[in-house]
């Protein structure tokens, strides 16, 4: 390379940073600084307002794992985790079915996907009405001659199952469209060849479709796990966390913004972050990504 005068050289060095300054500042201010601060807060008893704070060591973390009412929220995640297994199975089924030529294919595809696009508050209200006494669900059951006087959101188990059901209703569409895209990117000749060899539908699914969607499936599993741990909108809007439906994020938001326990809430958030990072790490280990991202 020929020698450039210093001024030109400096400008060349500087140019990429001029383009990167805004994105980097935003990235650091809104992602890395909060994570760093959160780590510090998590070892204090700060209330989020007063200028004073004192370090309490690992006290907040001990609280989270020993006070049963704080730990209880992890159990609620179990309902959503179970629901996401159902969700993935249904998404796989519909993606497989609709990858073949079915009448009204586009209509069904649209209907299954559309709930994913709907505003969460609207969904919350739609299903509050659905589950309420004399609401949509009771009316439908009434059509079949079944008079129900059950408060669907009344007991802890029933409420959590109902809310997890709403979550499946809402998120199934994204899984489905991702699977459908993966299934459709499998070349059609493969099915023809398999059919010539006498393979049935199930064998086609087992040996052609399943391997073809493995990367998307593993991505979906990790999204489901982190999604189940960070549920907030649907239960917050529908029950406000009452009757044993409080999730990890609802609890953290309440600790931080209602009870001014910034220190404890930060520790809870750090625990959640660590769990999600661990899950991601395990997934990367089990299913190594063959395509290298970005660079």
């Amino acid at each position: 390379m020929e020698r450039l005068p210093n001024a030109v050289k400096a400008r060349k060095l500087l140019t990429p940073w001029l383009f990167l300054i805004a994105p980097l500042v935003l990235l650091i201010v809104f992602t890395y600084a909060p994570v760093a601060n959160m780590l510090v807060y998590s070892f204090t008893d700060w209330d989020g307002v007063s200028p004073e704070l004192s370090f309490t060591g690992a006290g907040n973390y001990v609280d989270i794992f020993t006070r049963s009412e704080l730990f209880q929220v992890f159990l609620v995640s179990g309902y959503y985790l179970a629901a996401s297994v159902v969700q993935i199975a249904l998404a796989l089924y519909f993606a497989t079915v609709l990858s073949f030529d079915v009448r009204f294919r586009n209509f069904f595809k649209g209907v299954i996907f559309f709930p994913y696009l709907i505003n969460g508050v609207a969904i919350g209200f739609v299903f509050l009405y659905f589950f309420q006494d004399g609401g949509t669900l009771d009316s439908v059951l009434g059509l079949f001659g079944y008079e129900s006087d059950r408060a669907w959101l009344g007991t802890s188990t029933s409420a959590n199952v109902s809310l997890a059901g709403v979550s499946v209703w809402r998120h199934l569409g994204l899984n489905f469209v991702l699977f459908l895209g993966a299934v459709q990117s499998i070349p059609g000749e493969l099915y023809e060849a398999a059919e010539l060899d006498g393979a049935g539908r199930w064998q086609q699914f087992r040996y052609i479709i399943a391997p073809g969607i493995r990367p998307v499936l593993s991505l979906t599993v990790i999204l489901s796990v982190s999604g189940s741990l960070s549920v907030f909108e649907i239960p917050y809007i529908m029950t406000g966390g009452a009757t044993g439906t409080e999730t990890f994020v609802i609890q953290t938001v309440k600790l931080a913004f209602q009870f001014n326990k910034t220190g404890l809430a930060s520790a809870a958030a750090v625990v959640l972050l660590l769990i999600i990072l661990a899950v991601t790490w395990v997934q990367r280990r089990l299913v190594p990504d063959d395509k290298v991202d970005l660079v």
């Binding site: 201010v29 809104f30 989020g48 696009l117 739609v126 991202d293």
Partner: protein
Amino acid sequence: MTPLARVLTHLSLAVASVVVLLPLGAVFLTSLKTPREMADDSGALSLPDDLLNFSNYVTAFQDGRMVAAFGNTAFILLFAIAGTVVIGSMAAYAIDRFTFRFRGLVVALFLVATLVPGVTTQVATFQIVNSMGVFDTRWAPVLLYMGTDIVSIYIFLQFVRSIPVSLDEAARLDGAGAFTIYRKIIFPLLKPAIATVVIVKGITVYNDFYIPFLYMPSEDLGVISTSLFRFKGPFGAHWEVISAGAVLVILPTLIAFLFLQRYIYNGFMRGATK
């Protein structure tokens, strides 16, 4: 497929459609009912007496502050999307077209950030937003939506990579600087990526509840999510008004979906699998 399998397939699809559409349909029917009909207790699935009774929509608009809410949402959408497009495309251009020191570090910073879910860090983000003095203004969500969107950078990066470098070189020979190349050559060629980002980001911002709920508690600053959420108090027992509010919020999404189906499917697929 055997005839039986075909019947079962269609049956399962029909059941799925009913499960999706019935809860929405019931709310739509309810939104057209009068308070008197609601008190009759004729059930959620009964037809309203007057299919053109839009009085609940008027109530939702006037007493539910939905006009202001749509205005605030539009304001945030405009600035957040414009900011995301400019920032994302600039970052992608710099990362793909330049070799510089710490490039690997910059890329790693963006990569690692995708692993940090936004919901977990709000406790501390709140303090930062507060200290910047933008708490309870519409700029808080705008900044947060702009600052935490790494998926858009990915989408832009894929597109920048597909633009031949020879175009840049030709322009450079004509005396164009880096910024001119970005503005005159790269940016216009990014149109498909911009469309994707605008659609995906638009729907995400329109639907978001968490950030406006935390950062804009003032009633004047309600966006459609938070304003609809506030229906719970004053209209607590008036399901016909709440239903009208929900339909008002869902309708723009439905229209956008019907017109932009193809782009929406592609956008969300690209966004999720990055």
